[in-house]
């Protein structure tokens, strides 16, 4: 789907090639280690042993690819390395989100809610 989107992007803005940082996969492999080292320093990360360090590097590489995909799918924002770049998406969701699922929210979509706000004037 990312490729399809890229085609759509090109079709829409023929003058603007979508430049996604990080080049191709080879570049990414080559640069990942140096990116990871600066990430560890910048965010003061520390891992309990060499295995954990190696595992977090592999997660980091996956997240570099994800950031590139997000950049392609979301070109009006800037995506890249953040303090969460050594977390799998599942770890990130489990640790840093926390909005409880709510059937009521679903009902809201259907327009039912006990606390419905009154409609406010929006012209003038």
């Amino acid at each position: 789907s990312a490729a399809a989107v890229a085609a759509a992007v090109d079709a829409e803005d023929p003058l603007i090639r979508q430049v996604v940082p990080g080049g191709d996969d080879n570049d990414l492999e080559l640069n990942a280690e140096s990116h990871f080292l600066s990430f560890v320093q910048r965010f003061g990360k520390s891992y309990k042993d060499a295995d954990e360090h190696a595992y977090r590097l592999s997660v980091f590489k996956d997240n570099l690819r994800r950031a590139r995909r997000h950049q392609l799918l979301d070109p009006s924002a800037e995506h890249g390395v953040t303090k969460f770049s050594d977390l799998t998406p599942a770890e990130f969701r489990r640790t840093y989100l926390g909005l409880r699922k709510s059937r009521r929210a679903l009902l809201r979509e259907l327009g039912e809610s006990a606390h419905e706000a009154p409609v406010l004037p929006t012209d003038g």
Binding site: S76, A77, R103, A105, A117, T122
Partner: protein, 235 residues
């Protein structure tokens, strides 16, 4: 409605906080909305406690008795407002500081700083959301955080984004157009305060596109609630 509006320019938004590794985003969203409402009611910006929600709010959804607020394991802003109406109000951050883990409730009614008059849920309509934002102050909202793990800055407007909500944040303003460097297009956007510290996003803030042709991007319009605070005189 003004083209641009930002409650940070009017002193109604407290400092960016950091929820740490605890799923308590809902308590930051709820406390941020009450901070703004309290400011509108009293003219004073008080930094309010999230830990009181984490430790003491186990309020359940009226329509889903098995769905209750549970500290670092998640919660809902509207249920948090219900809890506050029953508990009487919220203490300050200073009196009930954040620890980022579930603890024993240490709520002290005599230290209440802000109380909820009432709260309401806004329809999935961007004009109504803007009008409620201006009338009631910052709004507690839900959002799909799929693109936020890698977000660095700019106006996020993904071509593809789910609308199931998994994160609670605070809507503090909106802009008519944020220059989108790559696509050389201006996109109107919402200004959202997050709770992942100032070294995430744009100094702790997130911008996501709005407007009729991108309505409800990542579910941002679909869980919006306002809260109004008790006025100083009544206190």
């Amino acid at each position: 409605l003004p083209d641009d509006f930002d409650w940070r320019d009017h002193g109604a938004v407290g400092p960016v906080k950091n929820q740490g590794s605890c799923g308590s985003c809902w308590s930051f969203s709820a406390s941020g909305a009450l901070e703004g409402a309290h400011y509108l009611a009293t003219g004073k910006l008080e930094v309010l406690s999230e830990q009181q929600f984490v430790d003491c709010d186990h309020e359940c959804d009226s329509s889903e008795p098995d769905s209750c607020d549970s500290g670092c394991n998640g919660g809902l802003m509207t249920t948090a407002f219900s809890y506050l109406q029953k508990a009487g109000g919220l203490e300050s951050e200073k009196d009930y500081p954040y620890t980022g883990s579930d603890g024993k409730c240490k709520f002290d009614k005599s230290k209440i700083v802000a109380s909820v008059q009432n709260f309401s849920v806004v329809s999935v309509d961007e004009a109504q959301i803007s009008a409620n934002l201006i009338k009631h102050g910052p709004l507690a909202i839900g959002i799909n955080a799929a693109y936020m793990q890698t977000y660095i800055g700019g106006v996020s407007c993904p071509y593809i984004c789910g609308r199931h909500l998994d994160h609670g944040v605070l809507l503090v303003g909106y802009g008519a157009s944020g220059f989108a460097p790559i696509r050389l297009k201006d996109k109107p956007y919402w200004i959202i305060k997050n709770s992942w510290g100032e070294n995430w996003g744009e100094n702790g803030y997130y911008k996501i596109c709005r407007g009729s042709n991108v309505r409800n991007k990542c579910g941002v319009d679909s869980m919006v609630s306002t809260v109004s605070a008790v006025h100083a005189s009544k206190e």
